[in-house]
Every structure is written in C-alpha cells, then in structure tokens.
C-alpha cells in the first residue's frame, strides 16, 4: 500500500513551492510519485531513489581511484583539514537547511574560515547593490494579490523557476487581481526572445550587456524627458510605451536575474534597477525582487546576516567577520591562490565556477558533502554523501522573498546515512577536540 504526503515543499529553486504531493510506501522507505511539481522539482525527488546512489563516503587514492571509507574517517579528515588550514574556504550552503548552515558557521568561526555561498556566482552583486542604496521589496503573496504590472529583467522563469508565473506572478487570481493574467501586463527585457518573452505583452530585445543604459533610459522616460532614437538596441518609442505601461499600473513589480547580475556593470546594473523602482514609486506602488536560484541561498544570507552581519563572502580568518566582495569572494580567493583548503556543502562549484577556480580546488585538500556525484566530487579528495534536505530530512528554508518555510521529510534516507547537520555536528565536535576547547 501507499500513502500520500501533502503540502510538501520543493527543495530546488527559490520559488520554494509548498503544495506538492508525494506518494510514498507505507513504511516511508520508498518514494513513487510526485504531483504538482515542475519537471525539475519532480526529478529532484525521484533521483533520491536512484539505484546507483552512493551511500558511503569515499576518498581519492593516489592512482585516481576511489576507496570507500567510514563516516568516522571522513569526519576525521574533514576536521583535520579545516583545523590545520590557515585560511580554509567553506563554500556552498545553499542546498541545505538553516540548521546545517548554523552549525557550519560555528565550525567556520572556530577554524577561521572564509564562508561564502552561491550568491557569489548568482545574486552577490544584487546584495552589494542593496547595501549601496537599499531595496523596496515585497513578498510573493503581495505580488499574487496586488501586482498588475510585471517586469522580468534578465531572467527566464519559464526555464529557471518554472512555477513562478503560475503560482505568483502572472497567472494566479488574487485578492485584487481577480482576473488573473488578463488583468496583468507583462514586460520582458532579454537579449533573446525566451520562452518567457514569448508570452509577454512587450519584449524588449536588448543588446546583451547594455542593461545599465536601458535602465537609465526608463528613468528618463518616466519623467517624459527626451531620449536618443535608439538605446541599447531598443527604439525610443518602445521604451516610452513600456515606461507608460509600468506607470499606469496599480502595483508594479520588477523581477531580475542573472542577465543583469552577471553581465558587465554587475552591481551597478542592480543599483540602476533599484533606482528605477524608486522612481516608479513617484507614480504608483512599485517593488523589486531578485529571482534567487537555489532554494535556500536566501536562508544562508539570513543566517549569516544574524550571526555575522553580512550575507555572503564572510572572512573569519582574523577572528572577526570581515566582508569585502572582490577580495573575500570565492572566485577571487581561488584565482589568487589565497586559500589552502576547500570545504563544499550544498553546491556544485565544479560545474558552476569558472574552470580556473575549479582547477585550484583540484590542487588543494578538499571535501565535498553532496548527495550526488558531481564535477565537484570529481575534483575533491573526499566525497561525503548525505541525505537530501527537503526529501529525507526537514528543516528551515527561506523563499526568494525572505519568507521562511519549514521543509518536510517525506521518505527515509538509505540506512546509516547522515544528514548535513549530523555530519557537521560531528565535525564540529572533533574540531573542538583538536583545538582543545
């Protein structure tokens, strides 16, 4: 027999959908079906059941092959590596729960690590901009119930946050948005006519990398001032049209993604986007929100915010928290060879960092705590498989709008497998012993 678990939270993207239904066996050991999730979310649940899943830690041998080791040996290696290093990098922290992030932070403090999360290659530049000029934001509930002007800038939710538009931003009927998508106007700014752009009322096919100019042009257009004939590849008429569309709404929301944070201009692009939002508030209510990627990257920013005062790139190596993006960020540290050990949990820098950084990880003592086999586990010296957070263990996660949601355990992990938090607890205990505290 089977049973159905309802109100399950999807641990993949920052949309953090909380309406999934999962069919599991009566004893809670097997997972059969996933309903309501998008293709990516469903795959994440189903992959936990893979027959070829690794269940024990392993260590790379000199000849390049793997040798299975016990959790105790993996804990010993990790604790030694971190305690012996002068300046270890502890990176990732986005595909895990806040409980594990808190334990990891305690280890980081004890060994003088640099703590960095995936914002460093995602919305780190947004965080810099927020510190520069603040951010008028809101929750996704407000978007659903109030927003009638939706602007997606440099993001493609049809692919990256597949249920965002149906749950919150475009299609749902809310309290003041009873007509659903017919009552909303949608604008997309993207150098490609993406699948998101195809369903928009207006698509501005911007020249790649010219976001700052177009954002500034919007500020000019709001005021009704003169624009050059073409800005960033867009004829001025279209800019005026889009600007008027935004101004005429009752509640405008700007969602932005990697198109602005990773293109040249970086944090200054976001400065400009926030300034556009501020200006728009002269005419109507407007808010802006980053489309956060990993389901709990927002949570790691929160945890470090209250522990250290900074949301990412926190350098604890001097015994107090320092933060200086460009200096204390993972890729800068790796490229300059400034760290002497790498610990990765809840992320895959092997796949998502520039190759020059990956090579540096390969050359250092390194541990990857990760349920899957990934390019990161391929370059690390020790690989520790753990239970899937949000599938095999619950815990707190923060949605992209900073709303905390408790994820649920729906199925048992394979026999004897540790969770992130349990593994980190034991590493912390061992580090304390080594340091004699």
């Amino acid at each position: 027999m089977t049973k159905t678990v309802t109100d399950v939270v999807c641990p993949f993207c920052g949309t953090l959908c909380d309406d999934l239904e999962v069919v599991v066996s009566d004893d809670g050991k097997k997972l059969f079906e996933v309903y309501n999730a998008c293709a990516i979310g469903a795959e994440k649940f189903l992959h936990s059941q893979a027959a070829d899943r690794l269940t024990r830690p392993r260590m790379r041998q000199d000849d390049g092959s793997w040798k299975e080791i016990s959790y105790d040996e993996a804990i010993e290696y990790t604790a030694r590596m971190l305690a012996d290093a002068k300046k270890p990098l502890m990176y990732g922290w986005s595909s895990t729960n806040c409980e594990a992030q808190a334990v990891g932070s305690e280890i980081g403090e004890m060994v003088g690590a640099v703590m960095d999360n995936t914002a460093t290659v995602c919305h780190g530049t947004s965080l810099i901009a927020v510190q520069d000029i603040g951010i008028p934001s809101c929750t996704l509930g407000e978007v659903k119930n109030r927003a009638d002007r939706i602007l997606f800038w440099g993001c493609n939710p049809a692919h990256a946050h597949p249920r965002h538009m149906s749950r919150y931003s475009i299609f749902p009927r809310g309290f003041f948005t009873g007509k659903g998508h017919t009552g909303r106007k949608m604008i997309v700014v993207d150098p490609r006519p993406t699948d998101t752009a195809r369903i928009a009322d207006v698509h501005l096919q911007i020249e790649q990398g010219r976001d700052y100019e177009l954002l500034d042009a919007f500020r000019v257009a709001f005021k009704g001032e003169k624009l050059p004939d073409v800005v960033a590849g867009i004829p001025k008429e279209k800019i005026y049209e889009a600007a008027d569309m935004l101004k005429s709404g009752r509640f405008a929301i700007i969602f932005f993604g990697m198109g602005v944070t990773q293109s040249l201009g970086k944090n200054h692009n976001i400065d400009a986007a926030i300034a556009v939002t501020r200006d728009l508030n002269e005419y109507t209510k407007a808010a802006i929100m980053p489309m956060r990627g990993h389901y709990n990257v927002t949570g790691s920013g929160q945890v470090w915010g209250w522990l250290f005062g900074f949301p990412y790139a926190v350098d604890l190596s001097r015994g107090f928290a320092r933060y200086n993006p460009g200096e204390t960020t993972s890729n800068d540290l790796l490229r300059r060879g400034e760290v002497d050990a790498v610990f990765v949990l809840g992320s895959d820098p092997g796949a998502h960092f520039p190759f020059s950084s990956v090579k540096e990880i390969y050359n250092l003592p390194s541990v990857a705590v990760e349920p899957h086999e990934t390019p990161t586990t391929e370059v690390c010296k020790v690989h520790v498989p753990v239970a899937f957070v949000g599938v095999e263990v619950g815990g707190c996660a923060y949605r992209m709008d900073n709303v905390p949601i408790e994820t649920r355990k729906v199925v048992e992990p394979p026999e004897g497998m540790l969770t992130d938090e349990e593994f980190l607890d034991r590493v912390l205990a061992r580090v304390k012993e080594i340091k004699g505290v």
Binding site: L264, T329, A351
Partner: protein, 133 residues
C-alpha cells in the same frame, strides 16, 4: 570557417532536469554540452545542425555540439547552458565584484568534426590534469 559571436550562459529546463537526474549521465551532456547558434550564424559557419564545434575564448576552449537556437532569433549571440562546458570559456574576471563575467564573452566557433564532446566528469578531470587543449 570560424565565426565570432558573443557568448552568454544561463539555465534551461533541460539543464535543470538532467542535472538533478545526475551530472554523470549522458542526458546532462546532451543538455549542456551544446552551443545554441542562430540560423544566420550557422550559415556563416557553413555547418550543418548538430555538428561538433570547438568554442574558444581568450580564457579557454571546449568542444560542444552546435544546435539551432531554441529561444531565438538572436544573431551574433550564442548560448551555452550553464555548466562545466560553458565555464571553460567564460570570462572568469570579477573586476573586484566577486562575480565572474558569465555573460558576454567574445568567442570563436569553428567546426571540429572528429573531436568528442566529453561528459562533465571527464571534462573537469582531464581539464584539471592538464590533458585538454
């Protein structure tokens, strides 16, 4: 013939699904070991769809399969889904922001018929050992 295009990267739903199904599996290579080119750029390159190509930037080089843009037209712009293939060629400079420049790297694309597209694990392993061009 080699062509010059502006390379961007990002997520696709196939990238997301195949990554969750296992980055060591062929589906991940099929989803991310590709470059999406505009029909106009295919013409300039003088190549058929699904030809293997070598993509080279100032920062590195990688062999991927050239496919027609799925979210086009975007002449002059090429797209490799985020992942280890893209990351061999993107501009790693952060210009003191912490953020590598994942979007907007000038690259050349040339036909490389007989070169294999490596899977993700092999690609990083061989790359780290210095066994790749």
């Amino acid at each position: 013939m080699a062509i010059r295009v502006n390379l961007i990267t990002g997520r696709t739903i196939q990238q997301g699904v195949s990554m969750e199904a296992g980055k060591e599996k062929p589906a991940y290579t099929a989803a991310c070991g590709i470059i999406e080119l505009d029909p106009a750029d295919f013409k300039k390159l003088g190549a058929f769809r699904n030809t293997t190509v070598r993509v080279t930037s100032q920062y590195g080089s990688v062999v991927v399969k050239a496919v027609e843009a799925t979210q086009g037209p975007h002449p002059g712009v090429a797209y490799i889904p985020m992942g280890p293939w893209a990351n061999r060629v993107i501009n790693p400079n952060t210009y003191s922001t912490g953020m590598p420049t994942f979007k907007g790297t000038p690259v050349t694309v040339e036909v490389a018929k007989n070169e294999p597209v490596l899977d993700s694990l092999e690609l990083v392993r061989k790359g780290c050992r210095g066994e790749l061009a």
